[in-house]
């Protein structure tokens, strides 16, 4: 087994542990994905819900608030991520004290992921039958109960599906952030694999990313199917 690895992927073996090694890359990718999903997800979810309830037909219908939120989301969704990375540089420095490494990548990652997720959440929640929302209003429930008990509960199966989609794009973003100094598997694949002609590293890094994606996709699909009663 060891012979196999030594023969076919010598560079992977040589760079498996240690600084900027494969193992560290995996952890850095997971680190960036986890925190971006958690913080960006929370911001995106809140924004997405706000877009639905402040919408013209929403339970808190407010044209001004809606159009402000809508424009913010649009602007940040429109900036290509690779440019966003450099644009938010000063904010990153201010917030986390560094602009390199996985930690430095978090700020642009969150700013990139949150509006994307917000749109996903919005698209999911507007599909919930307005009649169900109205019946909750007729039962005398206020916005908080309707958001937590109706929107989030009725929308949960689809929210899980869009969350999986978002996490997978976040993994994509971490690879890009890695390329400009964020670390992680993306960084390793580019700077150690591609730029140094060590193809085995590129391939293994790619496979590792695919494994992470498949695991997340699998868990998400199973979970969504289990709670979906439509």
């Amino acid at each position: 087994m060891t012979d196999f690895f030594n023969q076919f992927m010598p560079n992977v073996v040589a760079n498996w542990t240690g600084d900027n090694g494969m193992v560290q890359g995996i952890w850095q990718t997971l680190y960036m994905t986890f925190w971006t999903t958690l913080i960006g997800g929370a911001i995106g979810l809140a924004l997405g819900i706000a877009l639905v309830v402040y919408d013209e037909n929403g339970i808190l219908s407010n044209r001004v608030v809606y159009s402000i939120l809508d424009k913010i989301v649009n602007v940040f969704r429109s900036i290509p991520f690779i440019i966003l990375l450099s644009v938010v540089f000063p904010i990153t420095q201010l917030l986390v004290g560094t602009t390199i490494g996985p930690k430095g990548a978090l700020v642009p990652l969150i700013i990139g992921a949150a509006p994307f997720y917000a749109r996903q959440v919005q698209n999911t929640l507007v599909q919930i039958d307005p009649g169900v929302i109205e019946s909750a209003e007729a039962l005398g429930y206020g916005p908080w109960t309707i958001i937590t008990q109706v929107y989030l509960r009725e929308g949960l199966p689809d929210l899980i599906r869009t969350s999986v989609l978002t996490i997978i794009s976040i993994i994509g973003l971490t690879a890009m952030a890695g390329a400009v100094g964020g670390g992680g598997l993306g960084y390793i694949a580019v700077s150690k694999g591609y730029q140094r002609y060590q193809n085995d590293i590129t391939i293994v890094a790619t496979l590792l990313i695919l494994v992470i994606v498949f695991i997340i996709q699998g868990i998400g699909d199973l979970w969504a199917r289990k709670i979906d009663h439509r």
């Binding site: 109205e134 019946s135 039962l139 005398g140 429930y141 206020g142 109706v150 009725e154 709670i227 009663h229």
Partner: protein, 359 residues
């Protein structure tokens, strides 16, 4: 029954502003519903029925300042949000498409209505079981809505609407998505609840059959306005507005069968002394052997071409299309005799001359 108003709507206007015009969904409506009524509101889709009933629990606010919305004597329009929500729990509502939550079981859907009830967990379970029993769905409590038929889903909707023991139930086209048999069973259930719980019911529908089956009062709505309102029997036997007549005809088929009847040979070639008449009668009149009397007294025979008999709230209401034939003079006398016996007589066509229908 004492007439005690439970819902009073006055000067209700609901105007939606669209890009290039204003839509008067509800136009200057006054409406009073008494406790214990089953009040039908009929009209075609787009007439403003749904908008009007949503004013009762203020899911839709009137857009004019003069509007008055009183439920159980309380002015709803000035209530702060929290109290308004509490009042809404006293007004149950069921919908055409049931509006159940697909992610919850039947029991949880009903339980959902009890979130603010302050009941203990045990009382919750008990109340839900009670409600499901009331609508005949005890065995379905662990199923999900998608596993149920339309009629069963509406029963869950009813159980949910009744969870907080409301005085009023608003039914917004609740039977419109159901087949006739299921419709009937749901209407029976509503009538039953009206009696058992002294529940006041507002029934919006475009089906006159539904109104006929359970309502004691009816209002007809067209283009945002209430064009006719009254006791079911009165509206049914003496409709004033054309639209009301149209709606009534959807269940009696008298007007629509007139076209067919008029094509028949006997009607096409009426001889002198023969008339085609529409006879309408309510209640006791029906029991008299009227047709026999016509022959005994005037030697006028009656050929019934079409008939419809309804029992509305226990009172028979009949409509007949009849050709009377006899001596011309005797036929005239027979018509007068019938009018004297409180039968409404409309001569549609007579042997010597044609008469315009004007009833």
């Amino acid at each position: 029954m004492a007439y005690e108003p439970i819902i009073e709507l006055k000067n209700i206007n609901v105007t939606f502003k669209e890009a290039d015009r204003e839509v008067h969904a509800v136009d200057q409506v006054d409406l009073t519903v008494d406790k214990g009524d089953i009040f039908g509101i009929v009209g075609y889709s787009g007439a403003g029925k749904s908008t009007l009933v949503r004013v009762i629990n203020l899911l839709q606010r009137p857009t004019n300042k003069e509007a008055v919305v009183k439920v159980n004597g309380d002015e709803m329009l000035t209530l702060p949000a929290r109290q308004l929500r509490e009042k809404r729990r006293n007004i149950g509502m069921i919908f055409q498409h049931f509006n159940l939550m697909n992610s919850l079981t039947i029991a949880d859907n009903v339980n959902f209505a009890l979130k603010k009830s302050g009941l203990s967990k045990v009382e919750h379970t008990k109340r839900v079981a009670e409600l499901l029993d009331l609508v005949g769905l005890s065995d379905k409590s662990h199923d999900y809505p998608t596993q149920l038929s339309g009629g069963q889903k509406q029963r869950v909707g009813i159980a949910r609407a009744l969870a907080n023991r409301p005085d009023i139930l608003i039914s917004d086209e609740a039977t419109s998505a159901l087949d006739p048999k299921t419709t009937e069973s749901i209407l029976d259930l509503l009538a039953d609840l009206n009696r058992k719980l002294n529940l006041t019911i507002i029934l919006i529908t475009h089906e006159m059959d539904a109104v006929k089956q359970i309502c004691n009062r009816v209002a007809v709505m067209d283009d945002g306005r209430l064009i006719e309102e009254g006791e079911l029997l009165q509206v049914f036997s003496q409709p004033r507005a054309e639209l009301t007549k149209d709606f009534i005809d959807t269940t009696t088929h008298i007007e629509s069968s007139l076209a067919v009847v008029e094509k028949q040979d006997i009607v096409q070639h009426l001889k002198p002394g023969e008339v085609l008449v529409k006879l309408g009668y309510v209640g006791d009149t029906t029991d008299q052997p009227l047709i026999t009397a016509l022959y005994d007294k005037y030697k006028v025979s009656a050929n019934i071409l079409f008939g419809n008999l309804e029992i509305l709230q226990g009172t028979p209401v009949g409509n007949l299309l009849v050709v009377l034939s006899g001596e011309p003079k005797k036929t005239e006398q027979a018509l007068v005799f019938m009018q004297d016996n409180s039968v409404s007589v409309t001569v549609l066509k007579s042997g010597d001359k044609e008469v315009q229908s004007n009833d």
